[in-house]
């Protein structure tokens, strides 16, 4: 799959995709990580032949997306972001219909349907109308329908958004297996850092229709080449005010071993070699400056830090090793709540 200088302009608004390029090798698990409105769905729609591009070139499985769309459709399975199922039909009927449309039939199809129902844990609900399914059940069934014909390339647009942690990790392990054992190429978009980190061989981080970083998760994190110490200042000091902020930053920058200090709206992130040794220095320095620390935590860099570095905005990831001064408010480990889809 090769994408070059892809641009998509909708009739209104700024271009949703502004000249992105990447390639996905056969058998690779490739991720597209980005916040709401980054252009992930737009890109997937173009790659899956659903929407014409404005310019650039796109080939999938070696076929041109404009001229050989019908060949591409034979290779791909697609799970769209909006769970597209027929609510009046049962789970089993949805799978059967999808199989028929993929030119399957007879016992082969029946066997495959049962296999997939087992796989996504919907055997018991197979005979129930999808209208009565929970959101997570629908999402799982939708994934199953996209797999019915054992596609070579699988496109997944936020497949685990809205799932509970158990279902999510079940899907993760299944996707990993599909990729590793069956050699299926997977293109996945997500807002979950952890998901991208865990699953993807390589990924692009996208924001505002542009790729801000690309590579393997390890490469990207190594690029930061430092631990991250995240801290928030106790109430009473408004970090949003320019003076206090620049003062705090200057104090922190002066500490030996600190390579960078980034302000991310809800706190400061200090990068430096060997974060555990930095913590006492930071505490001391800020204490001397009469700045009271509310929370402080050290982590090896995450994709969050990569995103932060390139966009100046944060998507705080859970799983920080915390040295808690006060109880830190639990934050979700994704980019913020999904907006209602229309």
């Amino acid at each position: 799959m090769v994408v070059k200088d892809l641009v998509k302009k909708y009739s209104e608004g700024p271009p949703a995709v502004q000249g992105i390029s990447f390639d996905v090798r056969a058998g690779e698990f490739f991720g597209f990580l980005g916040p709401n409105g980054a252009g992930k769905s737009t890109t997937i729609k173009i790659l899956t032949t659903l929407m014409p591009k404005s310019s650039g070139s796109v080939s999938v499985g070696g076929f041109d997306v404009d001229k050989e769309a019908h060949r591409i459709r034979k290779l791909i399975g697609v799970q769209s972001q909006e769970t597209a199922l027929d609510l009046d039909l049962t789970g089993q009927e949805n799978l059967m219909l999808q199989g028929h449309l993929q030119r399957m039939g007879g016992q082969v199809l029946e066997k495959r349907v049962n296999e997939l129902l087992g796989l996504v844990g919907l055997e018991d609900a197979a005979g129930k109308r999808v209208a009565f399914y929970s959101g997570g059940m629908k999402k799982r069934l939708d994934l199953a329908t996209s797999l019915i014909h054992s596609p070579k390339i699988l496109f997944l647009d936020e497949p685990t958004t809205g799932l509970d942690p158990q279902s999510r990790s079940a899907i993760w392990s299944y996707l990993k297996r599909l990729n590793k054992e069956d050699g299926i190429t997977i293109f996945l978009t997500t807002q979950y850092l952890e998901e991208a980190d865990k699953l993807c061989d390589r990924l692009s981080i996208v924001d505002h229709g542009q790729i801000v970083a690309q590579g393997t998760p390890e490469e990207m994190k190594r690029e930061i080449a430092a631990d991250a110490v995240s801290l928030t200042i106790a109430d009473g000091l408004d970090l949003a005010s320019d003076n206090a902020l620049s003062e705090a930053r200057q104090i922190l920058r002066r500490i030996v071993g600190v390579t960078d200090v980034i302000y991310s709206g809800n706190g400061l992130t200090v990068y430096g070699k060997n974060g555990a040794f930095l913590v006492p220095e930071i505490v001391r320095a800020l204490d001397n400056a009469q700045l009271k620390i509310a929370t402080i935590s050290v982590s090896t860099p995450t994709l969050d830090d990569v995103f932060l570095k390139h966009t100046g905005r944060s998507i705080r990831s859970e799983g920080h090793k915390e040295i808690s001064v006060e109880q830190k408010k639990k934050r979700p480990f994704f980019f913020g709540r999904k907006q209602e889809v229309r």
Binding site: P52, H70, R73, V78, T83, L89, Q102
Partner: protein, 255 residues
């Protein structure tokens, strides 16, 4: 070949959905049946006016009611299409290997089947009330064909509006706006000779009149081929125009 197969699966899908929500079969039947019951009372004296073409108003009205149903029922095609468009199910079908025109063909053939079932229900009610067709079973079959084809033609119209506006509200609004004027300015409920001149002219340009007239000769007198073939001609032209528009618009939407 694959077109037929794919259409067949989508035909089954639509029918299965309909059986799960049987009220949709009666949804468009409701108004025509009320008309049938009311108007046979309201206009019962019509039959005694000189020049009225039937022995009683019921015999005269049943063909009109059949076409009224084909006409209103057709608008469900458009709203169902909009539903698929909005839910993403259309996109899901489009990324499969299925022939894209099967999406249209499966839908409209299922809708024609629905219209046929509804016409059978109206004919049965008519029979129960004493409207026995002059042409017997073959005539009844021909009536069903005419009503189904008419439904197909108007169904195309509603799918076109649905694809164009992408809103079922628009389909409903246009349906609501068109139904009564087109119905009353046709020969469905009143003989043309009872109308003022200008309205008689309108009925001549109203495709409903042609469908009604053909079903009516089958009901009242016999196989008057000239009227019947005229109906097939007009309905065929209607189908050609609306389906042409649908295919054009469908291509635009699916890219």
């Amino acid at each position: 070949m694959s077109l037929i197969q794919d259409s067949w699966h989508l035909f089954n899908r639509t029918n299965r959905k309909l059986l799960r929500k049987p009220f949709l079969i009666f949804f468009s039947l409701f108004q025509p049946i009320i008309f049938l019951l009311l108007f046979t009372q309201l206009f019962s004296r019509f039959a005694s006016i000189p020049g009225f073409p039937a022995d009683n108003y019921l015999l005269f009205a049943v063909p009109g009611i059949i076409l009224q149903n084909s006409f209103t029922s057709a608008f469900q095609s458009g709203t169902a299409f909009v539903d698929d468009l909005k839910s993403g199910f259309l996109a899901k079908m489009l990324v499969t290997q299925a022939n894209r025109y099967a999406i249209l063909l499966g839908r409209i053939s299922a809708d024609s089947a629905r219209v046929t079932v509804q016409s059978i229900i109206i004919i049965c009610i008519g029979l129960a009330m004493g409207a026995h067709p002059a042409t017997g079973i073959p005539g009844l079959l021909l009536m069903l064909v005419i009503s189904a084809l008419f439904g197909l033609g108007w169904g195309g119209m509603s799918i076109f509006i649905g694809l164009r506006t992408r809103s079922s509200e628009s389909v409903f609004a246009i349906a609501g706006f068109l139904t009564l004027p087109l119905l009353f300015m046709s020969t469905a409920l009143t003989p043309a000779s009872f109308m003022p001149d200008w309205m008689q002219t309108v009925t001549k340009f109203n495709p409903i009149s042609y469908g009604v007239d053909a079903i009516r000769v089958l009901m009242l007198s016999g196989f008057d081929w000239q009227t019947i073939l005229e109906a097939f001609g007009v309905i065929g032209a209607l189908i050609a125009v609306t389906m042409g528009a649908v295919v054009h618009q469908f291509r635009k939407v699916v890219g």
